[in-house]
């Protein structure tokens, strides 16, 4: 048994403890999911110094401010292209996007499908709380039909996105969906997502008692968890189209997709650069190789077919 220092939380080394307490409401699921993410990192021995977290704007987007690693809190909807840029520049680093459903699928919806299509080697965790939490509970592209929000006071007339299904058919390498109740399995899935080379995505259904539950007969945080418990059906590798979530009906959680690893977007970019680039002097070439040593080491592993982080 490992000895834990008194007063110290096992994840303290992964958190900017000086920034706590956090902004999240009591009963909010975001902290649970961030905890699972950090434990997954710890379990697989992923080095926080070599890991970058990028968030957008929203309650979920505040996660980047609490993790003890290089972290970026960008603009609403744009964490994915920001992450694509940083990963292309530094393919030797692990890059995670942690953001909300509105951020990644409404205003930023275009970016997630393109990052998946390119198979960019980033891990995306999204909190699906069915709502725009931070701005006080407006309609999200995930709000179930009939959902009451501050901008759909008479009920929602739109159909929600099936997030995991959408990403699964867009070209991702790994896709899973859990709820904040399935902490263990969520943690395992995040481990897999982090280890996966290529685009990986984990959707987590999560309670927002303040902005969603309150208006939708789930005022008590426990009510939402009960709903998850009663309706979540674990099933793996389904047809992604079966992943729709309908009011008061059962919905599927589990691993949607775990594809064979293929060269990532960054592998291909750097392979092309390595093939084409040519400096006039040997000294400059050596300098370039030294500068990009880490990228090239990763690259040669990929080329030999044994890509590992």
């Amino acid at each position: 048994m490992s000895v834990v220092q008194a007063n110290m939380h096992p994840l303290d080394n992964y958190l900017r403890t000086e920034r706590l307490p956090h902004v999240w409401c009591s009963g909010c699921g975001i902290g649970t999911v961030l905890g699972a993410y950090l434990r997954a990192m710890k379990n697989i021995g992923m080095d926080p110094e070599k890991t970058i977290m990028v968030s957008g704007i929203g309650c979920t987007g505040r996660a980047a401010g609490y993790v003890k690693m290089d972290s970026f809190h960008t603009t609403h909807g744009r964490p994915i292209p920001f992450a694509v840029g940083i990963k292309a520049a530094r393919p030797d680093l692990n890059v995670t996007v942690f953001s909300g459903d509105g951020d990644l699928f409404a205003i930023g919806g275009n970016h997630i499908i393109h990052a998946a299509r390119r198979n960019a080697d980033i891990t995306v965790i999204t909190i699906n709380n069915f709502i725009y939490g931070m701005t006080g509970g407006q309609l999200a592209p995930t709000t179930p039909e009939t959902g009451i929000t501050t901008t759909s006071p008479y009920g929602n007339v739109e159909s929600p996105f099936n997030l995991a299904g959408l990403v699964a058919v867009s070209g991702a390498s790994y896709v899973a969906r859990w709820t904040s109740l399935h902490v263990r399995r969520l943690e395992k899935s995040i481990e897999k997502a982090l280890k996966k080379r290529g685009f990986s995505f984990v959707e987590v259904l999560s309670p927002c008692p303040t902005a969603y539950g309150r208006r939708n007969r789930m005022r008590d945080p426990v009510d939402m968890l009960k709903y998850f418990q009663e309706h979540a059906v674990v099933k793996h590798h389904i047809n992604p189209l079966e992943g729709v979530i309908e009011p008061d009906k059962d919905f599927i959680v589990g691993e949607f997709l775990d594809a064979e690893e293929e060269p990532t977007f960054e592998d291909k970019l750097w392979e092309m650069t390595k093939k084409e680039f040519l400096y006039t002097s040997q000294a400059e070439r050596t300098a370039w190789i030294l500068e990009h040593r880490r990228h090239l080491e990763t690259l040669s592993k990929i080329i030999s077919g044994r890509g590992e982080r």
């Binding site: 401010g65 972290s71 809190h73 920001f82 694509v84 840029g85 520049a89 400096y279 400059e284």
Partner: protein, 378 residues
């Protein structure tokens, strides 16, 4: 032959020259989305960057391009994008994120005529104020305006140097005429091109936004255990959000001041026949070429005309104009919009100037500018 710096004499378009200038300045990352009349910049970069050890990505839109630039810049690469009006509009939010997070990068805007889709293939100069104020909130900007392919090369280098030195997104405000103009471009040997790189932080204990005496904080690398946090929210020197008026005053005041105190190093203009001039034309980009000819035509007619050509548009050379207004009595502004730099000129000289504007689609004919000069001295 593949080379890093395309040394020697070449016959290049402005779009290609700006790309070559960027590479000479050390640009190693480009993210963009095709748009006329800037696509040639992206095309050139897609061919050239892999040759020099860089990365080119065609993103899904300009929102993504601008976000990727900022990411790559924090990843340690000198980064650039190229666009035109509609794309520039889409970049504005993350242009502001670049200001707030002090992220070096260069945006080339080859201006076409707007508003909206406007005249995609024809010239405009209507984005001057957008480069200054296009993103919300108070900040200072740097924008350069080349009048020839040669200057596209030179100013790309300078834009990167400014952006690295002052940690700010810098705009190269070209126009369609200059972008598509082919002329001789002389590129000096690599060793003669001054290239400035950002100050890198080496002290892990130092706060990420603790400035030096020049008001510019050194930039920490990522992936080296600095544990930085970077946010577009108002933040303190640790980089942590602080939602108060005091924090806003302290941070944004510094962001503004870091450019203002260095304005004299940044501002650049050409004076053409201004020593004894009675009437001075203010112009930039392609309009300056028509204005130069108009000044000569006026001199031939016995009018003491001169030109102040803005090579750097922002920061604006107010001091210089206040100096000129002591000597010259009349001012003319020629630009391809409905009066953008005109407002700045009139503010600086504290009186009206004659405005020779065009809504876009073609550069001024020299006689159009001449008419403005004649009207001014009448």
């Amino acid at each position: 032959m593949k080379v890093e710096v395309l040394e020697g004499h070449h016959f290049l378009s402005g779009d290609v020259a700006v790309a070559e200038g960027a590479i000479a300045a050390g640009c190693r990352f480009f993210a963009g989305y095709p748009i006329t009349p800037s696509s040639e910049v992206a095309e050139r970069m897609s061919r050239r960057l892999p040759e020099v050890g860089g990365i080119f990505i065609q993103m899904e839109d300009e929102l993504a391009s601008m976000a990727a630039l900022l990411g790559a810049s924090w990843g340690g690469k000198k980064s650039m994008t190229a666009t035109s009006g509609p794309g520039f509009s889409l970049m504005m939010e993350n242009y502001g994120l670049g200001m707030m997070t002090e992220t070096p990068c260069v945006i080339v805007n080859v201006q076409r005529a707007g508003p909206s889709t406007g005249l995609p293939t024809l010239v405009g100069q209507g984005d001057v104020m957008q480069a200054r104020w296009g993103s919300h909130g108070p900040y200072e900007t740097i924008a350069l305006s080349p009048e020839s392919p040669q200057e596209c090369f030179d100013m790309a280098v300078r834009a990167f140097n400014f952006s690295e030195k002052y940690r700010i997104p810098v705009v190269v405000l070209m126009d369609e005429s200059v972008g598509h103009l082919f002329e001789r471009v002389s590129i000096p040997p690599k060793s003669e091109i001054e290239v400035i790189d950002r100050k890198i932080s080496t002290d892990k204990k130092r706060h990420i936004y603790e400035p030096d005496d020049d008001l510019i904080p050194p930039m920490p690398p990522v992936g080296e255990g600095f544990g930085i946090h970077v946010t577009g929210l108002t933040h303190d020197e640790r980089g942590y959000p602080v939602i108060t008026a005091e924090a806003q005053e302290k941070l944004v005041r510094r962001l503004v001041d870091k450019i203002r105190v260095h304005a004299d190093e940044i501002i650049d203009y050409e004076e053409f026949m201004t020593e004894d001039a009675d009437v001075i034309v203010i112009a930039y980009g392609i309009s300056a070429r028509s204005a130069r000819r108009a000044v000569i035509m006026a001199r031939e007619k016995g009018i003491k005309a001169g030109m102040l050509r803005l090579k750097v548009i922002w920061p604006f050379p107010s001091k210089k104009l206040r100096e000129l207004v002591e000597k010259a009595s009349h001012f003319v502004v020629a630009e391809i919009n409905n009066g953008q730099i005109l407002v700045e000129v009139e503010r600086a000289i504290r009186k009206e100037a004659v405005f020779v504007g065009k809504m876009g689609g073609e550069p001024h004919r020299p006689d159009e500018v001449l008419k403005g000069i004649e009207e001014a001295v009448k």
